[in-house]
Symmetry: C2
Subunit: 254 residues, 2 copies
């Protein structure tokens, strides 16, 4: 069985201008791997309608799932929902359930907050969307087709994803095991490591140099869906670097 | 005059699996904005040859400059240089100057290090490439056409970029000014802010909620190439939020 695949679209000028450090990619990549829907690509794109529409249509045809983060707030630069409607060729209209949820929320404040036009925009969605509940700040995300539209604020995005995850048809979880050795250099192990990779074609064996005050080294990571294969590869790697005179340590460097 | 544009390709399974937090996008986005080559898109793609080749050819046709990070070390998973050669349809061969530099480096160690086949791979580049010097660890990056190939390790990538930057034909620097107010809510300011954005069509006015222990709020950022316009927009924004009873503070929240 082949695992389903995922693509992440990070929508926002603030990430492309360097103002904001994205924190959503790492979280989603990790969680999607755990449920067997590995992330195959991520794109950071600006708040430009044509770019959003074209990109969404391109990637939703290519991947099993598309996740978007950003652009679903109440301000003029929040245009994701509108653009997703354009991409799907459906009207962008008030979602009755989202309207109800949000109206109740604003009415229940002490004092009540006005559910004004800007806030109602957050309940305006492509026709046919189903809501992704937002346990943090009420305004929901939504799913339409294979596209899941979430907030950009990491805490809210993470809460939305955990609402969504149980309903996603996952695949075989992607697992990994690491071993590292301080004082090791990639140029010294490259040839032997390549031979080990060749023996385990179903795994991805990665080599990642690290730098620490106490001395740098290399971390080697075997990644795949078959735990026995991963274990065998890590044993082979461990024996190999031991044979070169280095001291392998299980896991990633601290 | 229209500014040149840039696209960043982050090449590496380790970013897509969630193992590694990318730190290159924010740096490059900021520096490219400063020299007037704004970043228009970034993509994170895996160490898969067809994907790298197709993506490079797609984006190098679309943007003035393409920057890549990752995949130029000595191990089997470092395939960027080879794939760039394929994308340009040129041979992947030893680069005489890179070979000379690296041979001298390894020979000068105490004791000398073997300049083995794996290390020589780091001097193997698309025909016609010009070197990007690496003041940190010698093994150079390279430029071919409008594609600039750099290391993935942030310290090395940053050093390479600073070698490259003076030779890039920059445009008008992108500047920004921010103002923020604690206690402010996006839903309250959205309408008025949209009107200010409409008055300054050459600027990007962004609205970014923030969360702090001392209380959250919203930061408003005006971005563009004309300082006088930016200043006028920030004045308008400041007056607007003051009028709503909030206390505007210059700059981003700490």
């Amino acid at each position: 069985m082949t695992n389903p695949t995922a693509c992440l679209l990070i929508i926002g000028n603030e990430v492309l201008s360097g103002r904001t450090q994205d924190a959503n990619l790492k979280f989603l990549a990790t969680r999607l791997g755990e449920i067997g829907i590995p992330l195959r690509e991520a794109r950071v794109i600006p708040d430009v309608p044509e770019v959003i529409v074209t990109t969404v249509n391109e990637v939703r045809a290519r991947y099993t799932h598309v996740f978007t983060t950003g652009g679903i707030g109440p301000t003029h630069d929040d245009i994701t929902a509108e653009c997703i409607a354009m991409a799907f060729g459906v009207p962008w209209e008030q979602h009755p359930e989202a309207m109800r949820l949000m109206a109740a929320h604003y009415a229940s404040g002490e004092p009540p907050t006005e559910f004004n036009a800007a806030r109602q925009r957050m309940a305006t969605m492509p026709r046919g969307a189903t809501l992704i509940p937002n346990p943090v700040s009420v305004a929901p995300g939504f799913t339409i087709g294979n596209v899941h539209v979430m907030a950009g604020v990491p805490r809210i995005m993470q809460a939305m994803f955990e609402q969504l995850a149980p309903g996603l048809q996952g695949g075989v979880p992607v697992k990994s095991r690491a071993v590292h050795a301080t004082g090791m250099l990639e140029g010294r192990i490259a040839e032997g490591l390549g031979q080990i990779q060749a023996r385990f074609p179903n795994l991805d064996i990665g080599s990642y140099p690290y730098y620490r005050e106490q001395g740098g080294g290399v971390a080697l990571v075997a990644k795949g869906t078959d735990q026995a294969e991963i274990d065998a590869a890590v044993e082979a790697i461990t024996a190999f670097i031991q044979g070169l005179g280095f001291t392998p340590v299980a896991g990633e460097p601290i």
